[in-house]
């Protein structure tokens, strides 16, 4: 496969300059970290630019790194240029008290449920989303279950003691 990282990085840097925080290869994937407020502009540029043509949203999901103070939460976007078979990953990171992200539904209809899922599990709110409600969990769940501090099992249970097995 041709080396696509420099090509994409150059056109992104020309357009957005310092808003592209980092660009690196992660195994076979070019990965770009973008400033949160510019993410939609970056995606739109990648969508419209005749050289780039990233017209397919493969995946969108949240991540939580409690140890990265000030950048605990993140959203990961996987875009795909089917014409040239380029895949890239975009990511944004932000603090727990600043969870409002611009919505991608204006560009991709597919983002609708993916963003609802991300909201459902991480509490990330997507500004401008047409229907931002919980999608998989019950409406009165309370809390966002994919955050790392959310326990997998009921912590008040005392009938199970398997600390030796790493649970």
């Amino acid at each position: 496969m041709e080396d696509i990282l420099p090509v994409i990085e150059k056109s992104l840097r020309d357009m957005f300059g310092a808003d592209i925080i980092s660009a690196e290869m992660e195994r076979d994937f070019p990965v770009f970290t973008v400033k949160k407020d510019r993410i939609i502009d970056v995606v739109k540029f990648l969508y419209d630019d005749p050289e780039m043509q990233f017209r397919f949203l493969t995946d969108l999901c949240g991540v939580h790194f409690p140890d990265n103070k000030g950048h605990e939460l993140g959203v990961i976007y996987h875009l795909h240029n089917m014409r040239r078979n380029w895949r890239i990953r975009l990511r944004i990171f932000f603090a727990l008290n600043d969870v409002s992200v611009p919505t991608l539904t204006t560009v991709f209809s597919a983002a609708n449920w993916m963003e609802r899922e991300t909201y459902d599990f991480y509490g990330i709110t997507f500004k401008g989303h047409p229907n931002l409600r919980r999608i998989l969990n019950v409406d009165d769940l309370g809390g966002f279950p994919m955050l790392k501090e959310y326990p997998l099992e009921d912590p008040t249970r005392d009938d199970k003691d398997d600390k030796f097995f790493g649970r």
């Binding site: 995946d59 999901c61 990961i76 895949r87 991709f108 997998l152």
Partner: protein, 415 residues
């Protein structure tokens, strides 16, 4: 109200802006389709807004069988996540299993012997056939033709018997291991596989004779639930549903895994993206899968290598006789079963062509015994959101066949 006729000659309601006010004045009936309607083939609800027989709008509700797989996966060693993937698309669980194994193998960078790759292809294509058979025959059932369903389910049963002879399970298979297969395929497996390959074409031809040029079936399915290529791409469609709309995207060709690049097969595509096209694309894919299996069997038989797993002692369980007689093997066995093997740090996205589209695994590893984050890109979940748009202006009976032709599997939808 402006009306137009679609290609079936049916009256289709246009949602033109100038008629929007008049539409508001009308009183619609609300119809609750699901959550446990027999025609939804799974637990999901659709609240339809109906103007007589015509669907004006619909509101899907999903999540009835959500089982928190992504959260569970964060507390399980890599070996123990395979059974979770079974329960995603349970009509073709071996593809999910293989996809997960390949993701982990990509992370720990293992070279898989060619023979194992071909064996995997046989398994994956068999399960693709099983998946498509279920989907296609169920379109027939929902259109009122139960006969074909009964015919092909016998063949599906034979495929499940092959899986059973390899791994002991039928539906939720947990087939294979990280690094290869748990044991060599037995003579029984080969006999069953050969028998299936010999008898299957006749049955599939019979099934096609029943439906493909059937006037009633064509009337029911042509023009039902169409979607254009543009909208399908925008909605993130993949797999047979996208190909039915006319885009020749197939992960097996775009990003070959498990040596798919060595195989010769066509990607069938449709033109209108309606139910009939989806049916036909799946039908042709079954033939392509059949030919891939034939090629793979030839390659396996031609290979001199007899390996059925790669050399990854950190992940692949040692044979039992060694575990009982050799201390090293016992240690490895214990480490693997308790999930105490560390993996490299990294961030992986690996996609396979699942039964109904690009099944992706996005895995973040922090070097520990379990994934830091695992996200499944589930094709069903992404394309099912287009359902309201696809059935708008259609009739209720079209909505039923559209849903079955989209192959929405509740397990994958809700993860």
């Amino acid at each position: 109200m402006s009306q137009a006729k679609n290609q079936k000659g049916r009256v289709v309601q246009q949602n033109a802006p100038e008629t929007a006010e008049k539409l508001e004045e009308k009183e619609y009936s609300i119809l609750n389709l699901g959550p446990s309607h027999p025609a939804t083939h799974g637990v999901f609800q659709n609240i339809l807004k109906m103007d007589g027989e015509i669907i004006v709008d619909s509101e899907p509700t999903i999540g009835y069988i959500h089982r928190a797989f992504e959260k569970l996966a964060e507390r399980r060693p890599y070996n123990q996540i395979t059974p979770i993937t079974d329960r995603l698309n349970y009509c073709s669980s071996p593809i999910n299993n293989m996809g997960w194994h390949m993701t982990v193998e990509k992370l720990i960078q293992v070279e898989i012997p060619k023979r194992v790759q071909y064996m995997r292809i046989v398994i994956m294509e068999l399960s693709r056939i099983a998946d498509h058979l279920v989907c296609n025959s169920v379109i027939g059932v929902d259109a009122g033709a139960l006969t074909g369903f009964v015919y092909v389910f016998e063949e599906r049963e034979k495929i499940y018997e092959i899986f059973e002879s390899i791994c002991g399970a039928r539906l939720t298979t947990n087939i294979g291991r990280i690094g290869g297969f748990e044991r060599e395929w037995t003579d029984v497996t080969w006999a069953k596989l050969k028998k299936f390959m010999k008898e299957f074409p006749a049955v599939l031809k019979e099934f096609e004779k029943l439906l493909v040029r059937n006037r009633i079936f064509m009337d029911r399915t042509i023009g039902a639930g169409p979607i254009s290529a543009d909208r399908a791409l925008n909605y993130g469609f993949t797999g047979p549903n996208l190909r039915a709309a006319g885009v020749d995207y197939d992960v097996r060709v775009m990003n070959p895994y498990s040596s798919y690049e060595e195989f010769k097969f066509d990607i069938p595509i449709g033109t209108n993206g309606d139910t009939y096209d989806r049916f036909m694309v799946r039908e042709h894919e079954i033939w392509e899968s059949y030919s891939i299996i034939q090629q793979a069997i030839e390659k396996i038989e031609a290979s001199t290598d007899k390996a059925f797993h790669a050399n990854v002692p950190d992940f692949y369980l040692p044979p039992k006789e060694e575990v009982y007689n050799n201390m090293e093997a016992l240690i490895y066995h214990f480490k693997i079963v308790m999930g105490e093997t560390d993996v490299p740090k990294g961030e992986i996205y690996h996609a396979v062509e699942g039964g109904n589209g690009e099944l992706g695994f996005y895995l973040i590893s922090d070097g520990g015994r379990q994934p830091y984050r695992l996200h499944f890109r589930r094709p069903c979940f992404i394309y099912y959101q287009a359902y309201p748009e696809m059935i708008r202006g259609n009739m209720l009976s079209d909505a039923i066949v559209t849903m079955s032709s989209m192959n929405v599997i509740a397990g994958e939808l809700d993860a």
